[in-house]
Point group: C2
Chain length 139, copies 2
């Protein structure tokens, strides 16, 4: 087995529900460079992402694969994949349909924190979450 | 206590060496948008970062605060701080001196992974790690 095949190294991941470890995965807008979200991947999510070109994560709260956008339609088409020096963090450069955030913002990082620790909403909401998700779980 | 003061929520963090939880912190170049690295913060690292305007992380491997650039001089001046919707991931927009990566690359994400899982080095090395760190631990 080539060295290249050993990355990402899920054995360095956080133990999670019998997955064999989950690693943080950053989704970044491929065009604008905006950081959209951070989620988690186990090996299965990684393999499905690589095979389909659509971002698939592992939901730690639900304990199952999370095919991003399956409910909302707000999918992430993966344009480029990177791993970091320690092979324990994944970076996806994606084309985001609609809003990455379940609160209706393009990016989950819509809150700025000032030096005193106070937050302000620094971005504009793209969509109304109620119209996207209805009563379903956030996906 | 205002709601704003409760973020980030370290109680949602990964348990780590009696810290009360560590959360992932993404460092992004404030100007270019390049994602530089992912590290971890406990509450002490967060508070020192906010107080000093210099990125401070918690090294999970060394079990101690990691004042980024203390050895290498490759500091990160924090220009903006964001938290995500769940208040469990931190995004720092920074001005990076030199290379963020201990391997001498501007970004730790210097390896691209193709669909077959093979990696290539996609960036150029900025500095020779040996000249920066000598025999010291990577910082």
């Amino acid at each position: 087995m080539s060295i290249e095949k050993t990355i990402p190294d899920f054995s360095r991941g956080q133990p999670c529900q019998g997955t064999g470890g989950v690693l943080p995965a950053i989704a970044q807008d491929a065009q604008s460079g905006q950081v959209l979200m951070l989620a988690w991947m186990d090996r299965i999510a990684w393999e499905e992402t690589m095979a389909t070109g659509q971002a698939v994560y592992f939901s730690r709260s639900r304990g199952q694969l999370w095919r991003k956008g399956e409910t909302s339609g707000h999918r992430q088409q993966v344009e480029e994949v990177r791993v970091d020096c320690d092979a324990d963090t994944i970076l996806l450069k994606v084309r985001q349909t609609g809003a990455a955030c379940h609160e209706g913002f393009k990016s989950c990082f819509f809150r700025r924190v000032d030096q005193e620790g106070h937050t302000t909403i620094a971005d504009s909401r793209l969509v109304n979450p109620a119209t996207v998700y209805g009563n379903q779980a956030n996906q």
